[in-house]
Amino acid sequence: MITLIDVHKSFGDIEVLKGISHEFQKGKTTVILGASGSGKSTLLRTINQLTPIDEGKVLFEGVDVTTIKHRQLVARIGIVFQQFNLFSGMNVLQNVMYTLVKEKKLNKDKAREMAMISLDKVNMASRLDAYPKHLSGGEKQRVALARAMVLSPDVMLFDEPTSALDPEKVNEVLDEIKKLTHIGLTNIIVTHEMGFAREVADEVIFMDEGRIIETGSKEAFFQHPKAERTKQFLDKIL
């Protein structure tokens, strides 16, 4: 579905991605693990072109993403951010409806109906009029998820979706993401939640200092890690 070929990215003098190659399988859930600063989030953002790459290629269904119109590309790829990034000037319903009305040109009733369905799936249909600042982190992230899912993407990117949440709110968001791993979506998840990774991952990628150190099924990765660096990492956190 998505193929990265020798992807390089630098911010100023710092090379964040040092030649990443990987193929993300359609309909699978891939979890990207690694220490902070290992390049996980940057890798994720190269896929929907939020971070344009310096060298290499990112292919979406075999097509170089730089040749696809941005709008067409992101229509297929949803993303959920660490900091939620809801539109603070809009209420919950408007956040979810907005793109449907303005960019998909749906009429308001249809858009509202779709938004309601999407919000209902994440149990936020009762807070339609609330503004983001009145929501908890977990609620915000569920709205953000509904906002991405209402556009029915084929791929969902998760950039540390629970890292900014209070510990007791983490599960309410993870539970929603888990549901998405059973409906044929291609999920790519950057997270620090090991229990979650073990549960949902079809494939695990371990990154360190801008490189992919190890990839494998979750069983292979967690039980028989090959690389020394992976072992150290797992020892520290498990």
């Binding site: 941005h70 992101v74 993303i79 951010f81 900091q83 539109f87 000037g89 793109t99 303005k102």
Partner: protein, 228 residues
Amino acid sequence: MDIFDYEKIKPWIPYLAKGIGITLLIAFVAAIVGFILGVVLVLMNKRKFFRGFARGYIDIFRGTPMLLQLSIIYFAIPQLLDRIFNDGFGMNIDFAITALMAAFITFGLNSAAYVSEIIRSGINSVDPGEIEAAKALGISKYHMYKDIVLPKAFKNSFPALVNEFVTLIKETSIVSVIGIQDLFRRQQIVTAQTYLYFEALIIIGVFYYVLIKVFSLIARRLEVIYAK
């Protein structure tokens, strides 16, 4: 001896008070023109092709005295146009503009320079995460600015915009030099008639102060409502 000769100034108070209308008129028109042009300048600043013009404009209007700008628009530009078209091309057009029109133009153009800087910093204070989300959702730049960035930027810059309006009210006092009968000009006329400097100045001073207080209080109210 009266320290404040109220009896003598009293008949002139209605005449002085009429200047409030003129002062407010100029400030309001300038605020509207300034706001619209200010937004245009902000948008120009975002486009490479227009950026040089926008920057130069802002630089010149902020870098020269308002009295000079007013004088150039009222006296110098009509003269220049007269030379070019009437003397140069033998036309016969009257380029003179009314003092009030000159005031609208000058204050509007001048205010635009300040407003654009205020809104620009308002835009810079918009959470970059929201902009990123808009991009990731495929929201067009036009919609992103219209519905997400600018409303937020206005909200963030609202106190500074009110401040700019208050400054405008105060600065309109310079229109007296081109003969507009604003508060200040009326004071000069009254003083010329009565030799009452102190009383006339104190009275228009009170008018200015109250005017500005009223707008500041309204603004604070709006801010509270807006922040909800």
